[in-house]
Amino acid sequence: MIVANYLTAAALFCFGLYTVLTRRNLIKMVMGLSLIESSSYLLLISMAYRRGSTPPVLLNPPHGQTVTGLAKGNVADPVLQNFCLTAIVIGVAVTAVFLSVAVRVSQHYRSLDSDRMREMKG
């Protein structure tokens, strides 16, 4: 029932989106974006799962199997695991950019409330 994982990822995405849309505190909005990021990690790793599979490692084949057999056999998807690995580091860096923007904005306006930052509003 991996579809439960997919739906959980969708729910996490929606929680994050709701936070970004309705909160006015910049830090809370960054937290919402982090939730959205996490939902993508969960989705990628869940999509990599295969029923009864082994990890994608070409080592120590079980008795009676060859390494080539392992490569052709039932393994979890390594490409999506790769996406998740790189996404985590990029997520940290992007969150850091958001946080430093939030600090500078709050220093400029002396508030973290996004409703007070309306100088550009037409």
Partner: protein
Amino acid sequence: MRPRETDDEPTHRPIIGAVLVAGVAVVLAVAMVDLPREGAPLPSVARYAMDVAIPKWGITEPVNEIVYGTRGFDTFGETFLLLGAVVCVITLTRRREPRQGFIGEQEAGAREQARHDAGSGGNETARQAEKAEEPGEDPTDRPVGPATPDHEPLGRPAPEAAQAMTVVVRVASRVASPILAVAGIYLVAWGYSPGGGFPAGAVMAGVILLVYAAFGYRRIARAVQPSIFETLELLGALIIIGCETLGLVLKGSFSANWIPLAEPQTIRSGGILQLFSGGEFIEVATGLVLVIFAILGMEHDWARDRQ
């Protein structure tokens, strides 16, 4: 909608937001139910990576082969996205004048300035009046501790003057940090751990943060300096650019392997994968440290409120 004065969690159009999110939720749920499930065959790109891992790259870890080999160009782009983010943070957080370290120099400077100001001009009454008006804390009031927490006598009442945690935490991190550092280097040195440089870099950044949290900035100030870490960060980027471009020069294709393959399961297995992974290790570790210390060391960029 104007929030009440007591409402400490102001919101922005919650009902419209809820309707919009509900719509997105329905679309996502329909899409999710249609996604390939756990019984689906492996996509051809994944099967290809499994097939070429040993014959073409001599590595028993397909995830690593995808990160630095088959999809090396993608990782190359992501590396520079990371570098771009680090440059953004450094630009946003930088001070008005160049500094040697990340944290604490402003405070030390303010302390010296206050000493200098106290000795020059004005009578005692005027200085006292000035001090009473000054809101916030006076840097000269802060206790000035010994250079490192280990020089501080044990058993003194809190707060400890040195910027560090208690002896319990310090002893624990003295034990844990070398073990964690070795584990991080192991992840990058042996090319058949999934991801190589990415998790290893995150572990090394974690070790530096652990030491910082336990011992305070002054203890690591000689090593953790913007000049050192910015140079290392660009060195990592240079290794990656060189490693990938030499493939174009020597083998006619960007990110092609140009290092002879070693026996799988050895420290040199995987050709350029190991070099790329090592460059990524430097890039990620120094990038994360730079970003975190830049945010920790952000100073107040405005005049003090006088109310």
